[in-house]
Structures are given as C-alpha cells and as structure tokens.
C-alpha cells in the first residue's frame, strides 16, 4: 500500500519528468529528486569555485601588465571572473546551500574546482593562452549550459557566456600581438600555447567511456553533449585560429579537414590530469592558501560591517 507521502512524491516525480521531457525549466521551489539537487549543487559550486580560484593565475599579472591598456583589460577580466563566481554562488544558493558552506568546502580543500587553475603562469604570454585556450574551452563547455534544465543555472550561464566572449578575444589578441612582435615574444607565445593546449583539452573531462556521471546529467538535461564531442568540436575551432595566429598546436597526431573537422588527435596524458586533480599540481596548495588567507583576514571586516548594521537597525526597530 502506498502512503500519501509516497503518492505525493510519485506525482511530483511525474511532474518533474514532464518538465524535463518538454524542455521546460526546473525552478528553485519546485520538487526535484534529491540526486538532481545534489548533482547541481556539486556542479554549480565547483564551477563558482573555478571562477574564484581562476582569478589568481591572471590576477598575479595585473601589477606587471606590460602596457596600461593591457592592465585595464586584465583588471576588467579578473573582475568579471569574480562576478561570474558570484552569479554562480547565487544560483547554487537557490538549491539550499549557503555561500559559507561553499566557501568552507573550498578553503578546507573538500570542494573541487577546475584543475586547470593549478598550473602556474610564469610569463605574460600565459595571459594570452589562458584567454584563448582556457576561456575558449570554458565557453565551449558553457554555451550548452545556457539550456541546462535548472533555471537559475541556465540564466547565470547566459550572462556569463555573453561576458566571456570578451575574455577569449582579448586572449587571442594578446597572442597575436606577441606573434607579430620580436622573436623573443614569439617564443614566449608558442611556449605558452605548448603548456596550455593539453590542459585546456582536459577541461572537457575524462573520455566518454570513463565519465561515470555523464549519462545521468544528460538524461536530466543539465549536460547536452558528451565530453569527447565537445572536445573535438573545440579543437576543430582552434585549428584555423592557430593558423591565423601563426602558432603550432603541440599535437603531431592532429589531422584536420576543413569539411570534416578533426579526424584524428593525440591522446591526453590522463595520469597528469588526475594527478593535478588530486592535488599534486604545481599550484594547488598556493591557490587554496590564498583564498583561505583572504577569507580569514577579511573576517574582522565582515564582522565589523555586520555589527554596524545591527546597531543602525536597532533604534529603528525600537521606534517601530
């Protein structure tokens, strides 16, 4: 015999399934399966953390940018990343997790973020390669998320994607300026492309046959295309762009046909990828430490502002 609660859940599940099947959006107060909620919280918060941690590798160059115009662009870009992190934290919060919980998970090392940000940025050309390759890969991943089934996530992604097209273009233009510059600058640009190419491809996630959560995410229409499909599409876009830049993509096995797209490509070194993901990357400790320090050293400021707000509110409450 089914209890009323079970019957209610079954109805709710049916309503949820119908919404998903009909390409409608799930909204915050709707009933949703617990696994769907958890998957979204994990994915959105990881995404938010990636934006916030992603401020660091580029933020390190704000004070050293080689021209004032580049400095302005870089500040605006890193600031956008802070903004994107906030849009995403805001979307995750609609699922019943607080910013504090997410921040704690990040600075305790419990939460994941994109392992791409655990690679160092030793030269200025890294600003170009990150914009072109890392933001390029991110956009490829993110544009389909604008149609994700969870409304607040999809809406945040629309905003983010619009802003990120600037990020990829400015990265491309940094590399272009270097490639048109001195021999030393050209070496710098090629070196950065060599270092960021494979990690940017790894951003699409493990190969389809080793990606355990993908099928469920596709069924829920959180995810729209498989990892390998997106990766291949991305490389196909890179080839003509690399040609325009005059840089070489560091994959001797890459075969590209203008009509058919990418027909062959080399293997990603997944051991390295998983090592960095596990925390063995060059900068994992440094990134988390910076975030933790900022959060902890800011505590007295947040407390002060809260105390001030409480004092200001008190007299008004009494008067009312």
């Amino acid at each position: 015999m089914t209890s009323p609660a079970d019957a209610h859940d079954a109805d709710a599940q049916r309503a949820f399934d119908d919404l998903i099947a009909n390409e409608r959006r799930i909204e915050p107060r709707d009933w949703m399966p617990e696994a769907y909620r958890k998957t979204l919280i994990r994915q959105i918060s990881q995404h938010a953390h990636s934006e916030i941690i992603g401020m660091q590798p580029e933020g390190n160059w704000i004070t050293r940018a080689p021209s004032l115009k580049r400095k302005a662009i870089l500040i605006a870009k890193v600031q956008d990343e802070a903004g994107h992190g906030l849009y995403l934290y805001s979307a995750a919060q609609t699922l019943g997790i607080t910013r504090d919980e997410m921040t704690d998970q990040l600075i305790d090392g419990r939460a994941r973020y994109s392992s791409i940000f655990n690679y160092p940025t030793p030269t200025w050309a890294d600003m170009g390669a990150i914009g072109w390759l890392v933001d390029g890969a991110a956009i490829c991943n993110q544009v389909p998320l604008c149609r994700a089934s969870y409304g607040p996530y999809a809406r945040a992604m629309v905003r983010i994607c619009k802003e990120e097209s600037f990020h990829q273009r400015q990265g491309f233009e940094i590399l272009l300026a270097l490639m048109q510059g001195s021999p030393e600058q050209r070496v710098m640009a090629q070196d950065a492309v060599d270092r960021w190419y494979w990690p940017s491809l790894a951003m699409f996630g493990p190969p389809d046959d080793q990606s355990p959560n993908s099928a469920q995410s596709m069924a829920w229409k959180i995810k729209r295309f498989s990892n390998d499909e997106l990766r291949r599409r991305f490389v196909g876009m890179l080839v003509p762009q690399a040609e325009a830049l005059g840089v070489t993509l560091p994959d001797p096995d890459l075969r590209y046909d203008a009509d058919q797209g990418v027909t062959a490509m080399g293997e990603i070194d997944w051991d390295d990828f998983f090592a960095v993901l596990r925390g063995d990357g060059p900068c994992n400790a440094e990134r988390i430490q910076r975030r933790r320090t900022a959060h902890e050293e800011g505590a007295w400021v947040r407390e002060a502002a809260a105390a001030y707000a409480a004092k200001q509110a008190a007299p008004r409450t009494e008067a009312a």
Binding site: Q93, G96, E101, R302, A305, A309
Partner: protein
Amino acid sequence: MTEPTTNPWPLWEVFVRANRGLSHVHVGSLLAPDAEMAVRNARDLYTRRGEGVSIWVVRADDVTTSDPDAKDAFFETAAGKNYRHAVYYTASEGVPHL
C-alpha cells in the same frame, strides 16, 4: 546540513531596471551587511556594462513566495476565464480601432 558558519552578512535579491519604461527584473543575489552596501555591491556586480538605470535590493528573507506545492490549485482559477482575454471577443474582429 551544517549550520551557516562565519559569515554574518545576509543574502540580498537584486532587481535591475534596464531602461526607463521597463520593469525591474530579478538578476541574482549577493551578500552585503546592510541595504546601503547591498545597493552599491549590486551596482558594481550587476551593472558593470551599463545594464541598468535603477536597482532594487530586497533581503532574501523578506521575499514571500506562493506555496510551490499548491501551485496548480493556486493558479488554476485563471484558467477557463477566457473572457479576460481580448481574443475571446470575436464578434468585434475587423472593426477599426477596436
């Protein structure tokens, strides 16, 4: 679920009017210690590219929502009242300025 930890700032919902003549539309949320700072943070966060001419901020706790579980019943009454829509009145179709 763990208790909220250290951050003493509340959550605010942000609404932006994109242009004169349009409604304020919900754009997202942010943390701020009080309303004055919330509206400033909203300006910095949600209007970096000239997206707005006016901002509202509301404490997330102060927003009351219709009961999601009762939504079918709650919004059912609108259905069937076709006479609220102009297209219901077919006899006047084709008459100028009506």
